[in-house]
């Protein structure tokens, strides 16, 4: 489907440079440990590593065997062990165990830990405590950014949301700032930076310090503007069911590091298939941003065209046939393959979504967004819980209810919580505690509302007791003010008009015309006004922390070059594919190009991924080991895909 947007979109910068930088640095680090060595790789680093280097690169630099970090005793016979890990205390503890076991066995080896993207003091403290400090050499691999697509760069830090917005640990703020600094020094200088949210502000500040410490640069900017936004500015959008194609694929099959595992039901063979999803996939590129209702039509049209193209070969003479085979056939076959894959995926999506009452679910979500028929919504959620339909989905609906309504009535909270615990297990008491702490699912305070209290607190800044008060309510949670924001920003279009999803008129199309994603709306408004002027009421409702600053880069700022229309949006805490689609739409309409910098491996914070998936558990032996992850010697353990906030996987309900 053709979009009639502005035709003069600027060119995106070439991000493959980032991959090269990362690869070169890794090679350099590997060479720091000369001689043959075994390399242990943290599980969630394997896919990112695959994207920038391959096995032969590693082999060239004397990596002998590859292992996945599994927190078990190791069987390596090499005299040199290299560990490529995230700075996580548990992983470092395991390495200490390995080193200490060697010591006890009187075995001498050299150990090297490469932390990526940076080391933490806490990890080094573990080495010290365990008595292996000094036996182990430490390096940092500044692999901050992985370009996943022409316009998506990821930091691949799945713990960002949880650490920052649940635990209140700011360890990744500097990482975010360094990533921004890397982009600034390669594709900058930036001329304007906007932001909203506490974490964004801190990121900006740390980044600014790095800029001041570093060299001033004068090269031609490729990225002009930057927008930093905290995930908790808009928690509503990631709680809504996704209905654009890419979002649906992610909801159902889970896109990890730009790849998706299509199961046997999609590939219509007995094997699952790992597929890269990006703009290189011509079929996918055309449907990724489409509302799902348009996808079938598009695919069948495409299939017909393909048929016609194949049919051309009938009645060809030998010579024509030869040109056909050499010039067209390969492309057609490729297209054929992709087409059948996406048709398979669409069918599978349809099957799964019609099995449950998807329409009713969407209706409930839309009612919640509109603030309409809340009692009906609650009883729908209740029924959902009673019937033990997806645990995550029930939770998602509960959170959406809480955020849109500024908390649940105490009576409802109690009843829904106890029904939830009955259906999915009492241990989810812990899940509820987490959700309350992060502000996703809260009980309305009886009597004096939070706002009144907070405004009082605001005046008593120097009072220690006041600080305690806010903390007592909710450490990081904020009042969402969704209804007021929705009205101010006009997020819910009037429902009496027909919304033609084929010709979307605004970003609401990504939610069937029912809701404009708040995050994207805020970005649109700020870019339009070149700042927050006129949005004072909105920022107040968003709990402040807005900023907009202009850099003093001289000429570069004044020249209205294309770079000024390249906007880098950094979601601190992750974003959904739906939001990316909305930004792409906005870009087409306004002649911007957005580069999205989500911060999670799978881009999505919420809805949290479902617990253990069967597809995660099946590891097929690869035919020819070409990828790093295939070369892992030991079979990986069952990776449980737990959501950030879910405490533990639920036992599978017995269905005798």
């Amino acid at each position: 489907m053709a979009h009639c947007g502005r035709k003069d979109s600027p060119e995106l910068p070439d991000f493959s440079l980032l991959k090269r930088l990362a690869r070169d640095q890794l090679i350099y680090l590997l060479e720091q440990l000369p001689g043959k060595k075994d390399l242990f790789i943290e599980a969630d680093l394997m896919s990112p590593l695959d994207r920038i280097a391959n096995v032969s690169t590693l082999k060239q630099h004397e990596v002998d065997k590859l292992y996945k970090v599994e927190y078990k005793p190791i069987f390596s016979i090499s005299d040199q062990l290299c560990f490529l890990i995230r700075p996580r205390i548990q992983t470092v503890k395991w390495i200490c165990d390995v080193a200490n076991a060697d010591k006890a066995a009187g075995r001498f080896r050299r150990y090297k830990i490469i932390f990526t993207p940076q080391k933490f003091f806490a990890c080094e403290a573990v080495l010290e405590e365990q008595g292996v400090f000094g036996d182990v050499t430490i390096d940092e691999w500044a692999f901050y950014l992985l370009p996943l697509d022409d316009d998506i760069i990821s930091l691949e830090l799945p713990e960002f949301f949880r650490d920052n917005f649940l635990a209140g640990d700011q360890r990744w703020v500097r990482t975010a700032a360094s990533a921004l600094h890397l982009l600034h020094s390669v594709y900058g200088p930036f001329s304007k930076i906007y932001g909203i949210g506490r974490c964004s502000k801190m990121t900006y500040e740390l980044w600014r310090e790095q800029v001041e410490e570093g060299e001033a640069k004068t090269c031609q900017a490729e990225i002009g503007k930057v927008f930093l936004i905290d995930r908790d500015v808009d928690l509503v959008t990631p709680l809504c069911s996704q209905v654009v194609y890419e979002g649906l694929v992610d909801d159902i099959f889970r896109i990890k590091c730009g790849c998706v595992d299509f199961g046997a039901d999609v590939t219509s063979s007995d094997k699952s298939l790992k597929v890269m999803l990006n703009s290189q996939d011509k079929v996918f590129n055309e449907i990724r941003n489409e509302h799902f209702s348009n996808v079938f039509g598009f695919l069948s049209q495409k299939a017909r065209n393909l048929q016609t193209a194949y049919d051309k070969r009938r009645g060809m003479d030998i010579k024509q046939m030869k040109t056909f085979v050499s010039e067209e056939l390969k492309g057609l076959k490729q297209e054929h393959r992709l087409l059948s894959l996406h048709i398979g995926a669409s069918e599978s999506i349809m099957k799964k979504k019609t099995k449950q009452d998807f329409q009713e679910l969407l209706k409930t979500e839309h009612s919640l967004l509109e603030g309409f028929e809340i009692r009906e919504c609650i009883s729908f959620i209740e029924e959902h819980i009673n019937r033990q339909v997806s645990m995550i989905e029930s939770l998602r609906l509960l959170c959406l209810l809480s955020i849109t309504e500024n908390g649940l009535l105490p009576k409802d909270y109690r009843s829904l919580k106890s029904q939830y615990l009955q259906s999915y297990g009492v241990e989810h008491l812990l899940t509820f505690a987490n959700l309350r702490q992060s502000g996703l699912l809260v009980e309305q305070q009886p009597g004096e509302t939070l706002t009144v209290m907070e405004s009082k607190v605001g005046k008593l800044v120097n009072d220690k007791a006041a600080g305690k008060l806010t903390d007592a309510f909710s450490s990081l949670a904020k009042k969402s003010n969704f209804r007021a924001l929705s009205k101010k920003l006009n997020l819910v279009p009037k429902s009496d008009e027909e919304y033609d999803l084929r010709v979307p008129r605004d970003m609401a199309y990504i939610f069937s015309g029912a809701y404009v994603p708040m995050s994207c709306k805020v970005i649109e408004q700020v870019l339009e006004r070149d700042g927050w002027t006129g949005l004072e009421e909105v920022t107040k409702l968003l709990n402040g922390h807005d900023f907009s600053v202009t850099g003093s880069n001289g000429a570069d700022l004044r020249s209205k070059n294309d770079a000024q229309r390249i906007v880098l949006v950094m979601f601190l805490g992750g974003c959904t594919f739906s939001e990316i689609s909305a930004l792409r739409f906005l870009g087409r309409e306004r002649g911007y190009k957005f580069i999205v910098l989500p911060r999670l491996s799978d881009l999505i914070v919420l809805p949290p991924p479902a617990p253990t998936r069967l597809s995660d558990l099946i590891v097929l032996p690869p035919p020819a080991p070409t990828r790093l992850s295939d070369l892992i010697v030991l079979p990986p353990p069952a990776p449980t895909r737990l959501s950030d906030l879910i405490v533990l996987p639920p036992p599978a309900p017995t269905e005798p």
Partner: protein, 529 residues
């Protein structure tokens, strides 16, 4: 957190005054005091000290790193003396540190000017914004210095700044404007708390050991918090944990929420459960504490041990509501253990027909309550209320709502295709003795459950007919091919057109077609179209 930010920014501002030397006064004083042994180190000692220092081995060797040193010198106005001298002449510094002689005044002042010029020359590329996240009035708010630096006054635990200007601990905070030159004789490595934090942010060598007074430690912590770098905050907390008693550390953390959150996160990551519990207790965060205790059960695999652990949790100070949930958790597991043992035996014994016919696929242990109820409705439906595994007993013990019970029983009995049980679930006799079908669940959901358990059309039809809303009813009936209901509904709606249209959808020559035909020919019906 409140006070820490203020301290940070305020001191920062003061330090940025051109020419201001921001070394804590007490440090210099201590040096002159021969009774302070720690500051009396000679250079070799100092080297030793560095080599044994905690953070030594994992930093870049900054002796080699002239370049970064240069860069650093640009920004660190408050460390002017040491750094600038180094830039000018390395030996000079050495000499100073060794002999304790005053810094050569010319080069020193030249250096200082150069440094402050550098500072002024270089306009920041981007403006600084207020990242102070909780306070609204910032450093220029006219607070007295004492209130800023103390952050809190705890019944005179600390003397205030203004009260006792001679008090050395208070003077620690005082930003010195300029000291007599003879006093500058400490080492390059004598970083102020702020510089230390800054160096840590860059991953450079630092020694925290010299921050021994509580005030120094807290200053260090507060600077790290205002620098927003969680990594550094945690590093300093680790040092504080090692060098402060729990009581003092906990007390100080209470008013520093950001640092506190980092500490809690660090303790949970290192799985220092004991200290974490103590911390939460001292903070009075009972709810967090009991949940943390309760969480331990997840790590217990053996069901009997887990049950016993849950039993021990019953005495914890949960909120009344959560207390009931935990009680349920315990009761449920206790019961599951009994049921599992009995059913396992029955299954192995091979005497029970139901287990033969539908062998169990998984153990019932640790399953949610509703799954357990489903299980009991499946295997133990007709047991009397007195037994542990009887569904009614479970319903009463765990106060399961009527609707919830109904949904679960319906699904279980439908799965077994025990249609008479299904029927009985709905039937209630009114006082006249007539039976009437009633459901706490809307009938279209009932149909949904039945259909998913592949109920025959015969059964489905009965329930589709009970759906209230005509449109939903027709839609359901069409989907499930309950033709009679469609036909009857159209008849009741007196919609001839639709009925006519439906004729094409039923099989030719079937009884349905005949029925439609009869209806259409019936002269007594007054069609609306």
């Amino acid at each position: 957190m409140l006070c820490s930010c203020r301290i940070g920014n305020h001191v920062l501002n003061l330090l940025q005054l051109p020419g201001a030397i921001a070394r804590p006064a007490s440090v210099t004083e201590e040096e002159e005091d021969p009774l302070q042994p720690k500051m009396m180190k000679s250079k070799p000692d100092e080297e030793d000290y560095w080599n044994s220092s905690k953070f030594k081995a994992f930093t870049f060797d900054d002796e080699d790193d002239e370049f970064s040193r240069l860069k650093e010198s640009k920004r660190a106005v408050n460390s002017i003396r040491g750094l600038v001298d180094e830039d000018e002449d390395e030996d000079d510094v050495e000499k100073v540190s060794w002999s304790g002689e005053p810094v050569g005044s010319i080069s020193w002042s030249v250096g200082e000017t150069a440094a402050s010029n550098q500072r002024a020359d270089r306009e920041p590329a981007f403006p600084k914004i207020n990242t102070d996240t909780q306070t609204t009035g910032k450093s220029h708010s006219g607070y007295s210095l004492s209130s800023l630096f103390k952050g809190k006054t705890r019944g005179g635990t600390f003397q205030t700044f203004t009260d006792s200007p001679s008090d050395s601990s208070a003077r620690l905070y005082a930003p010195e404007l300029r000291k007599p030159k003879s006093e500058y004789k400490d080492y390059v490595s004598d970083w102020s708390p702020e510089e230390t934090v800054h160096r840590m942010q860059q991953g450079k060598t630092v020694s925290l050991e010299k921050f021994r007074s509580l005030q120094d430690k807290l200053l260090l912590l507060d600077f790290s918090v205002s620098a927003h770098d969680g990594n550094v905050i945690t590093a300093i907390l680790i040092y504080l944990k090692r060098t402060l008693s729990k009581e003092v550390l906990f007390r100080e953390l209470e008013s520093r929420q950001t640092a506190l959150r980092h500490f809690i996160h660090y303790l949970s990551e290192t799985r220092d459960q004991k200290l974490l519990l103590e911390l939460l207790r001292s903070l009075g965060r009972t709810e967090d504490m009991v949940l943390l205790r309760y969480k331990e059960h997840l790590g217990i695999a053996d069901e009997n041990k887990r049950r016993d652990f849950l039993k021990s949790c019953l005495s914890l100070a949960f909120s009344p509501e959560d207390s009931a949930h935990v009680q349920d958790h315990f009761t449920l597991l206790e019961r599951q253990i009994v049921i599992e043992a009995a059913d396992g035996q029955a299954e192995r014994g091979g005497k029970s027909e139901i287990f033969q016919k539908f062998p169990r696929r998984a153990s019932i242990l640790n399953m949610p309550l509703i799954t357990t109820l489903y299980y009991c409705c499946f295997y133990h439906y007709h047991e009397p209320e007195g037994t542990f595994s009887g569904p009614l007993n479970i319903r009463h013990t765990f106060r399961i709502s009527e609707k919830q019970f109904f949904v679960t029983a319906l699904a279980a009995r439908a799965k077994l295709k025990a249609w008479s049980d299904v029927d009985a679930l709905f039937s209630c006799r009114n006082w006249l003795g007539f039976t009437k079908k009633k459901s706490p669940l809307s009938f279209h959901r009932v149909v949904d459950v039945l259909q998913k358990n592949s109920a025959p059309t015969q059964v489905l039809q009965e329930y589709v007919a009970l759906v209230d809303d005509a449109h939903t009813r027709i839609a359901l009936a069409q989907k499930l091919k309950c033709h009679d209901i469609v036909i009857n509904t159209y008849r009741d709606l007196k919609d001839r057109k639709l009925l006519l249209g439906y004729r094409g959808k039923v099989e030719k020559g079937s009884s349905e077609e005949t029925k439609i035909k009869e209806l259409l020919e019936n002269p007594q019906i007054r069609w609306k179209n």
